[in-house]
């Protein structure tokens, strides 16, 4: 399978996982299994296969920025890197939804964090961690007053 085809398949699959997270309050169990397990595992499998098949043929490495950039000039390795983003961002997104449910954070507040995690992974994670921190303080304060 050429890298381009796999890319065309992987993007909608990841997108389906994000949509599942967006609507997860309506059906938490199936959506979290889909977005937190099934889709990341599928993407990880494709990643593993790409690395197994193409790693030895690729130039570059992890030792310097120039080496990393050289590594990503190989289309199959670049695709593997992209699948890595897709899988891990979605996994983090699913964790955010689960952690939010546990901490009783309203889903509407989590949604912007999910959008950020989808587009700019680490920024979304920071946003969610900040939200959880602030929400925890706030909820404790009001809970104590009530």
């Amino acid at each position: 399978m050429p890298p381009e085809t796999l890319f065309q398949i992987a993007n909608p699959v990841a997108m389906a996982g994000w949509l599942a997270l967006a609507i997860s309050p309506f059906a938490p169990r199936p959506t979290l299994i889909a977005a937190g397990l099934v889709v990341p595992v599928l993407l990880s499998l494709a990643y593993a296969a790409l690395i197994l098949a193409n790693w030895s043929g690729a130039e570059g490495g992890f030792g310097s920025l120039a080496e990393v950039m050289l590594l990503f000039t190989n289309p199959a390795i670049a695709l593997a890197g992209w699948l890595h983003y897709l899988a891990f961002d979605l996994f983090v997104g699913a964790w955010e939804v689960r952690a939010a449910r546990r901490a009783s954070i309203p889903h509407l507040l989590v949604l912007p964090c999910l959008v950020l995690t989808f587009l700019f992974g680490p920024v979304g994670l920071m946003a969610f961690l900040g939200l959880r921190l602030v929400h925890g303080r706030f909820a404790t304060a009001t809970g104590g007053a009530a």
Partner: protein
């Protein structure tokens, strides 16, 4: 932050199954079976060949074989003497067997990843040293059949019918003895073929040469003694009169050994098991 692990999705650990007598072998076998998913996908995308076959075919064969091997041992482990699997010495031994199994798979898979030979690779002192080490590991992992075979043989409390009991123990011991001879000889050659193939005709799925001697044939049969004999023992127990069943199992063991010896001798003489006319 404790929910980082997928605690919600772990299956019920209490579900008892047919491999519970040897959880370490069962779990490792299952994990190796699962590891077929990425290697099969790699095989589908990787255009590289080695010796005329996709580079991933060999790791896939090893994964299937070792999954089957470990699950078979886990299945037979129920007939080990009570308490033996809880002994410290046994746990150290079975842990070493699992490490040997995983090392073989990493070696064969790693060689596929880099498109080089695993077995018979004497091109570089490092690869040659690894090959020797893997030979020792192969003996270690195969020795599990001898250990289990003798332990089951000596166990008078299996509750099995005598012919079936004998066939299981004998199958295990034969797997070790025959595999050691056949695979040991195979490893001392420069490759698995005896002769030079011209057309490249092979047996479907198994990949054995149909033109020249292929020592992997005898290895395959030798190692499957632990399946063949118990199946015969089961049949003998069910179908034969009681006094004939045990001798029949002994006769089957002898016949099977002769068959392995014949396929071994034939391959050494350069003859294929399934000739291509």
């Amino acid at each position: 932050m404790t929910d980082l692990a997928l605690t919600h999705f772990t299956p019920r650990a209490s579900a008892r199954n047919m491999f519970d007598a040897e959880p370490l072998f069962a779990a490792t076998g299952l994990l190796i079976g699962l590891s077929l998913a990425p290697t099969l996908m790699a095989m589908a995308m990787d255009p590289r060949d080695f010796l005329g076959e996709n580079v991933w075919l060999k790791p896939v064969k090893f994964q299937i074989a070792l999954t089957l091997y470990l699950l078979t041992l886990a299945f037979f482990a129920r007939w080990l003497p009570a308490g033996i699997t809880r002994r410290r010495s046994y746990r150290i031994y079975s842990g070493a067997v699992v490490i040997a199994v995983i090392a073989e798979l990493v070696w064969v898979g790693g060689a596929a990843m880099f498109g080089i030979a695993s077995h018979f690779n004497v091109s570089h002192p490092f690869m040659q040293a690894i090959y020797s080490l893997m030979g020792a590991f192969a003996v270690l992992l195969t020795s599990a059949t001898l250990v289990q075979g003798i332990a089951i043989w000596c166990n008078r409390q299996t509750g099995l019918a005598p012919p079936l009991h004998l066939s299981i123990a004998l199958g295990l011991v034969l797997t070790f003895g025959l595999t050691l001879i056949v695979a040991g000889t195979l490893a001392s050659q420069s490759g698995h073929l005896v002769g030079t193939p011209v057309s490249g005709s092979t047996v479907p799925l198994l990949g054995w040469s149909r033109e020249v001697g292929d020592l992997r044939v005898a290895h395959f049969f030798a190692t499957h003694a632990l399946h063949v004999l118990p199946v015969f023992g089961l049949g003998a127990t069910a179908l034969l009169p009681r006094r004939w069943a045990v001798p029949a199992v002994w006769a089957a063991a002898l016949t099977f050994t002769a068959f392995v010896a014949a396929s071994f001798a034939g391959a050494l003489a350069g003859l294929p098991l399934v000739p291509d006319f």
